[in-house]
Symmetry: none
């Protein structure tokens, strides 16, 4: 629906608390009252935006993971998905970033959107579990891997999703990092 897509963009940019019904209504070309014909509240509108975007992300990640069975391969695949999604519609990633902080800032949102939402958690568990099976992740490092993967994806969303070129560089850099090619050992320091 038109309303959901303009709302997504506004929420992505400004967050739940700052975007007013008036903002959404004006951007959608209707009156604020009309919003209540479609959603029972601002909160519900936000929730619908959330799941609508989440669905697109989940679908893409799912299909990117099928046919790849190493953790290493999957990480690369997901990084590429992240980039192409960002290229197609930058508000998706931006929205995910703001949604994480909005769910903390507005308790109503946390209640309406249980934590952790969507496939996110499921994908992560699958990643780790399968990584253990392939031997890529040792049992002792499981938590570390989880933490690093989370750090990287959150960092990507929060710090790079507003500039497509930089986003590409971050992706390429991270792939190089996986390839041990990002950094070269230092020449004898101080030599």
């Amino acid at each position: 629906m038109r309303i959901i897509s303009v709302a997504a963009e506004l929420f992505a940019l400004k967050g739940y608390g700052i975007v007013t019904n008036k903002d959404v209504a004006r951007a959608a070309g209707i009156s604020t009252g009309a919003l209540y014909y479609y959603f029972s509240s601002k909160l519900e509108m936000y929730v619908e935006v959330f799941w609508s975007l989440q669905a697109r992300v989940d679908e893409r990640i799912d299909s990117a993971m099928t046919g790849v069975d190493t953790l290493d391969g999957r990480l690369r695949a997901i990084l590429e998905v992240a980039h192409s999604l960002n290229a197609e519609d930058p508000s998706i990633a931006r929205f995910q970033g703001t949604a994480r902080v909005d769910r903390i800032r507005h308790p109503e949102l946390l209640e309406a959107i249980p934590n952790p939402p969507g496939e996110g958690a499921r994908v992560m568990e699958r990643l780790i579990a399968d990584g253990v099976k392939t031997g890529e992740v040792t049992l002792e490092r499981r938590q570390q891997v989880r933490a690093v993967v989370r750090t990287i994806f959150v960092g990507l969303i929060d710090s790079q999703s507003d500039d497509l070129e930089r986003h590409r560089q971050a992706i390429d850099g991270l792939i190089a990092l996986l390839d041990h090619k990002l950094l070269v050992p230092a020449r004898k320091a101080r030599a």
Copy 2:
């Protein structure tokens, strides 16, 4: 000042838009009117909180970098600083996370706190430039390194700073990543 420290905590937790003057006043044990004796506006109060925390971070990073001259060593040092700062006062990292999004959400803040703020940018440039000197960063990968470093530190702040244990795991994981020890090549892949 007492007001700044309670304000820091509140802003870190809830963000600029949600924390009210009344919240700050009550937490500081004064009236809202009194706030205006110390700050000319809520905005100014926020700015002062910002620089007060930023100063502590800058100082720590600066001192962590002196005496280390490889990019690799510096990254490890800064990661450790990030962790110990987080252990000492969790609201510092939290505030930095919320400040990044609040500066986007509230244009007045962006105007009052130019982007990128503080030493952040200077440190980053120094890191890269010296990395080139030591040969760790090739000229073609400069942008990638910058993007990856930024991704990692933002990811750390945004995704791990609310749980000290997980924060430690992320730090250890990232160090292992630098050591090429986080992930082991897959068995199957070699079959």
Copy 3:
């Protein structure tokens, strides 16, 4: 009409101000738009409900009074009518109660439904005038009788019409009062 009867029930329960067109429409199984095919406004709908119920009451009171020619007998007859009407359709009395206050609260209603409405006033005048004829009411007490009768019937509607059993007790009590049997002289008082 179906609409009028569901509207009557809703208005009786909640009053003019609180019942929305949507409430009525939903209860009648149509859309709010359709309401405007039958009535030109919410106000007009209310007025039609009013007269529709009033007609039923008037008719019953009229027929209860014919053939009885003392004030005393008529009061008893009307009390019984009040009870049987309440037993048949409790929303009639309830509506009359709410209508009295709604006509005060919403000036538009007062304008649309002149005060005092319906046969009420006519019946009262007949009662008093004939009571004077039969000698039951002295000239000096005319106003008092009018006021007491009004007090009793309003009290019945407003305080008892939501519970049929209590309503019966009130009716029986009032008849006992007319018979000088409700209260017995106090023992102590005679001591």
Copy 4:
């Protein structure tokens, strides 16, 4: 407080749902925002008005009942209290009338003001119980007496409290009724 007294008058006249904060604010000579400095919500304001008026009524009824020990005497005393209260401040009775219907129409009010409120119920029970002791009320007629007393007082409030003269006539008529003097037996009807 000034606000409470003007609010009482407005609520008495128009009821909870129709009186707006703006109405109260304008009548009190302040802004709507200022209301929230004194009350946390419109509901709370209403509740305070309620208890403030109820306190005055309770006190008067209590003192009217002391020293009188027959039911008959007490009823007369309370009727006189009703009249003098109405003479002093007509909004008290009017408010009690509207409050009864508002508590039904607005469930929040019922929750905030438990039913039955104030001394009302206590006074009624005392009246009946002592009436049984003095022999004025037989055991079988207890419920009837309760219902009649309730009917009369509700009727007085709801139908007469807006006109002091008529109120007086109703009181006098009711006293005459207790004295068996309101109505005279009919001369041979039809004779």
